[in-house]
């Protein structure tokens, strides 16, 4: 009796182990395949950026590095390759500098004005509070794409075309960041405010000494997300910037492709693509914890 039960249990246990092993193999193989599909386009691009222009132009795309890496990256960094018929070339360092400025200013600006407005909405009671909140909330429904021409007209009238101010300021209004900070401020216990009041601290003092230090984690997480958001802007710089000295790297590098002629300096273009990807990817990889936190908390 017990011998047969043991046998049965043994059979089940071995079946389960086998299934678990098979299960693990399925996981490993599919994850590796996934990683491969995600990494391969980058691999091709990085490899391509180390060959000379004729190798790529001929279509003999190599799978391993060539010897032109230094030459290509120096050329991309300093000159941006040769000018095409329609556009003059811009050195990658200029475009990267513009992108960096834009991304940091957008992230800092969004965080600053959202902190202030969330603070006003949560910690004060004043006439028009809900109106202000809804006005900010509604901007969620008005992405640039749906008000493209009139916004452009406003920019022209204000003389903001081809300026860093024009590139940054219209993008720093943020309903999502305001909502996130509002959500977080609501969790700050009432006792803190009471204690501050008893100690004679005014609202600005309370903001600086209590609310701001408590928000550091949220600010860091949000900064990572907003930096990437700013760096990857496309339509807005495409509209606002015609002066190539203010070109951002994402838009600038797609302009280098033009109509995608096989005669393009593909090696320089690929080197620029690598340079354009590097900063935001580095931010995600090295600040992964902040990044995941920022993403899962802002987007709801």
């Amino acid at each position: 009796m017990s011998a047969t039960m043991d046998l049965e249990a043994d059979r089940l246990a071995r079946a389960t182990l086998r299934r678990n092993a098979r299960n693990r193999w399925v996981a490993y193989i599919s994850l590796s395949l996934g990683v491969l599909i995600f990494a391969f386009p980058i691999w091709i691009t990085v490899v391509g950026s180390t060959h000379d222009v004729s190798t790529i132009g001929r279509g003999d795309v190599p799978l391993w590095f060539g010897g032109e890496a230094v030459a290509n990256y120096v050329s991309a960094w300093l000159t941006g390759g040769e000018a095409t018929r329609t556009t003059r070339s811009v050195p990658a360092w200029v475009m990267l500098w513009n992108s960096l400025n834009m991304a940091v200013l957008i992230a800092v600006g969004k965080i600053a004005i959202s902190l202030l407005s969330a603070y006003a909405v949560v910690f004060f009671s004043f006439p028009g509070r809900m109106v202000a909140f809804w006005l900010i909330f509604i901007t969620l429904m008005l992405p640039v794409e749906v008000r493209i021409i009139p916004t452009f007209e406003v920019m022209v009238n204000l003389g903001l075309i081809n300026t860093m101010t024009g590139l940054v300021v219209p993008l720093i209004a943020s309903a999502t960041a305001t909502l996130l900070f509002r959500q977080f401020f609501l969790t700050i216990p009432d006792e803190y405010v009471e204690a501050a009041k008893i100690d004679g601290a005014g609202p600005l003092r309370f903001f600086k000494d209590v609310v701001l230090p408590l928000s550091i984690t949220n600010i860091a997480a949000l900064f990572v997300i907003l930096f990437i958001y700013g760096w990857n802007q496309y339509l807005w710089p495409l509209l606002i910037v015609t002066d190539r000295d203010l070109e951002t790297v994402v838009v600038g590098m797609t302009k280098m492709i033009g109509n995608g002629d096989a005669q393009n300096e593909w090696n320089i273009i690929m080197a620029t693509a690598v340079l354009a990807m590097l900063p935001p990817v580095a931010v995600v990889v090295f600040m992964q914890r902040w990044f995941v936190k920022g993403l899962t908390e802002t987007e709801k």
């Binding site: 407005s117 429904m141 496309y234 994402v250 990817v281």
Partner: protein, 293 residues
């Protein structure tokens, strides 16, 4: 939820709100108002005068076959992007959630494409599928299949869908991972003890519990496919060949910025505004439910 203890004053809170409200007023509400106002006007050929035409702009674009084609492209493009990005992400998340070694490595390697700009994602795929210089582009041509996404509309659409979905998988993956981790292990173990096989456990426990995450992601993915993929299309196909990859957003850009068609572009903007409002409403209704669980 409301704070019980709050500061007094009217001027200070308005001052704190001023920068945000100023920017939204000048760059959001005023232009949006202009778009709505402009959608009822028509500009003469020389851009000298504008006259009121009622709903004519709307009836014109809704009768315009190129607009309807762009609408259909948008539907095809968005659903293809959303479903492939969601499906692949869910599959990978379930695999990465298994108790295996090296999950952190896999996670990092699957997360980083989020940081790649949509336009750059397009360029990466262009490098691979360019008919003359692309590795796969040449390979397909070598097999005797005529491949040129600059000439063939179906191929162009396929390529923009792949480039757009490729980038969005990592976003969905992060949220599915978070969703999977919040499923109580005890429930899964109980099911396993009761003899439920992995497939059955997935369809009867994991999938239903992930439904709120999936629905939220579906809306986010549709919004992404609608609005954030402008760069992908602009860099890869420029809306072509012909109109094969022109979506509604791309058409607003072409009609407004390149063709300077004032009234039509304003009316298109208003239609898009209605779509965003609808999507946002759906999203927030759902989130309200999630909060009240």
């Amino acid at each position: 939820m409301r704070k019980k203890v709050i500061f007094k004053g009217t001027l200070l809170p308005w001052l704190l709100l001023l920068p945000q409200l100023l920017i939204t007023g000048v760059f959001f509400f005023w232009p949006a108002g202009q778009a709505i106002y402009g959608s009822f006007l028509r500009e003469d050929a020389f851009g000298l005068s504008r006259e009121f035409v009622g709903l004519e702009n709307f009836s014109d674009i809704l009768a315009d076959p190129t607009y309807l084609a762009a609408g259909w492209n948008t539907v095809v493009f968005s659903s293809a992007v959303a479903f492939s990005a969601l499906g692949i992400a869910l599959f990978l998340a379930v695999q990465a959630d298994k108790a295996i070694r090296g999950t952190n490595f896999f996670k990092t390697m699957l997360i980083w494409p989020y940081a790649v700009a949509p336009a750059i994602a397009a360029v990466l795929w262009l490098f691979m599928f360019h008919p003359q210089i692309g590795l796969f582009g040449r390979m397909i041509n070598g097999m005797g299949i005529l491949w040129d996404y600059k000439l063939n509309g179906g191929q162009a659409m396929t390529l923009v869908v792949v480039a757009a979905a490729w980038k969005q998988v990592s976003y969905n993956f992060i949220f599915f991972m978070a969703g999977l981790q919040s499923i109580p292990r005890a429930v899964l173990e109980a099911a396993a003890i009761d003899g439920a096989r992995p497939m059955r456990r997935f369809w009867t426990i994991i999938f239903p519990l992930l439904a709120p995450t999936s629905f939220f992601l579906l809306v986010v993915n549709i919004v992404y496919a609608f609005f954030d993929t402008f760069g992908t299309i602009h860099a890869l196909t420029g809306g072509g060949p012909g109109q094969a990859t022109t979506t509604l957003i791309y058409k607003v850009y072409v009609d407004g910025v390149q063709n300077l068609n004032f009234g039509s572009s304003a009316a298109q903007s208003v239609i898009l505004m209605a779509i965003v409002i609808l999507l946002t409403a759906v999203q927030f209704r759902f989130i309200e439910r999630k909060v009240h669980y």
